[in-house]
Amino acid sequence: MEDLQGKNPQSASGTPHGHTRTVMIVDDDQINREMLGFIIQDGYHLLYAENGLDALNQLRSRPQPVSLLLIDLKMPVMDGFELMQHLREDEKLRQIPVIVLTSETDAEVDSLQRGAVDFIKKPYDMPTVIRARVERIIELAEDRRIINSVETDSLTGMYNKEFFFEYASDMDTSAADGKMDALVIDLDHFHLFNEMHGRAAGDEALCQVADAIREELEKTIGICCRCEADTFFIYCAHRDDHQEMLERIAAHVSSAYESTLHLRMGVCTRTDMVQDILGRFDRALAACNSVRGNYLTSIAFYDDELYRHDIHAQRLVNEMRDAIRQKQFRVYFQPKYDVSGEKPRLRSAEALVRWQHPEFGLVSPGLFIPLFEQNGMIRDLDSYVWQETAAQIAAWRDKYGRVIPVSVNVSRIDLFDADLLDRLNAIRDGNRLPGGALLLEITESAYTEDTEQAISVIRAMREHGYAIEMDDFGSGYSSLNMLLQMPVDAIKIDGGFMRAIAGEQGNAWLFDSLVDIARHLSVPTIFEGVENENQYRMIRKAGGDVIQGYYFSKPLPAEQFEQLIEKDKRESQKNEEGTAC
């Protein structure tokens, strides 16, 4: 449909942020559409739809709602009343004010009853009045939205974050010597609750938590807000023990559901005035996160240890860029052995990053990778590792005349980077490597949680010749059905998962099933984290293809890895000689 820009976007109809408001005219007759558009065009961005369905499709494909809908009643395909019915049923679209366009006097009352806020009579006798009404209706709707949305969260009726902090600061100012505590309450694995019981039940549970918190606050001085989906902030008078309050809230919520919701709390007590209110809630949140998934302890106080941990983490984040420049990150290589033949053969390797910090020594990737994932710096670190790895593959190719493929991690954030392929291609081509030299590992959860984005990017990468290994398989929630649709060249079985099934008696059949699944997909299985003979045997027996783990070798610096290449070369020569004899 047409999409015409109003002539004068600088008029008074712009929003306070300088955007031009968008108005949609829905009428099956082009002349009527254009005449009305002509009347109101100054200052509005206009959209046109020729029937209700067309309007609905356009509205649903827009990220932002329009400011006003002008709807004709009599239209083919979907008439105005049916459109209004659909709008009312849609949580987002029902906010849009509707003016009905009609020549039928008796339709006016009906229109208002069905949710229209006003009507404009056809023919359009008083253009200036129409303009004024359009302006007024938009203004009223925006005012109403602002009043409703600014102060409270629409689900629970609690303050929203901004107002909460505003009021909390007021409490600090007006009761400067009263000791106040910053509390954060969070629901463990709330997304699972949502998945099991449905979104509506999840919303209901959040309302239950909100009610229980409000009930608690009636007994003391305090305010609360819902900060994010399942995180609540409370600012209340200091007490030595908040455990009881947390238990009462948990009991209130659990009584409503058969499955127990686990609540956790972080507390930052007000021992001094150094931290501002936001800082104290940051600390309470850090304390709350420190007991995430810990079912034995549900409450944590921000203390010296957490403080030191935070400071340490902050230092690592601050120093990361310099560390890359100074090459403090070293790439280690852990071999992957092909075990499908009689004797294991070196097939490829995985590049693993280590941080040799000048002050802290070797820093665990388990510590710094999550930090870099949080602030997006993982992108730079990934690029660094890809470059170092590609250079190493090239060096070995020149030295041994053999391309040893090495897999590198592609983080989830990389999948959202429009330059991803350019970055990879530049590195691969810069080192004159063939297509299959750089293998890309993408974690299973990226496939399942960002499915569409992941699949489209992965398809593009494969088209450019990269082989994709699905990493950590077994740690996420892939269904078999999803697996069948996923573009993948190898499946890496998560080490923890592998150890769990190898350790349990009677679970050996799971190895067979995993290998069967991979065969069905026509891709090899790579078992990582293989540590002992028993696991090795079970995998071989099941027909697993590739093994990576301490059983063969720990991750090695490039110089030491070369010994494995040389050893494999000798083995290969021996075999050839044997065959020749």
């Binding site: 007759d29 082009q30 002349i31 009527n32 005449m35 002509f38 009347i39 056809k122 023919p123």
Partner: protein, 113 residues
């Protein structure tokens, strides 16, 4: 060549039509020009021929809306009467009014060509 004067001579209430177009004559004439491609009259005639009064109403109502907005009175008068007849599903002879509408629409289209 379509002109405001010609429309006025034909009987259109051009002043009213132009007012509805924010006083812009050129825009008004452009809108009137678009009627050249309007097929509602033909739809109405076909519907009447097969006694499909519901379809006749849809077409008559749509055409009436456009003619009313542009204040094209000579065609609007029979179109409005037809709309009401179709709306009431009147079991009557629609032909005289259809002929009248056809005459006026032909006169209008001749001005547009």
């Amino acid at each position: 060549m379509l002109s405001v004067q010609a429309l006025k001579d034909w009987g259109a209430n051009t002043q009213e039509g132009i007012t509805r177009c924010m006083g812009n004559e050129a825009f008004y004439l452009r809108m009137v020009g678009m009627i050249k491609n309007d097929t509602h009259l033909e739809q109405m005639e076909e519907a009447a021929a097969r006694h499909d009064l519901a379809a006749g109403f849809e077409a008559a109502h749509a055409l009436k809306g456009v003619l009313a907005n542009l204040a094209l009175t000579p065609a609007l008068t029979p179109a409005a009467q037809l709309t009401e007849m179709f709306r009431a599903r009147e079991d009557a002879d629609y032909q005289p009014l259809l002929r009248e509408l056809r005459t006026q629409m032909t006169a209008l289209r001749e001005m547009l060509s």
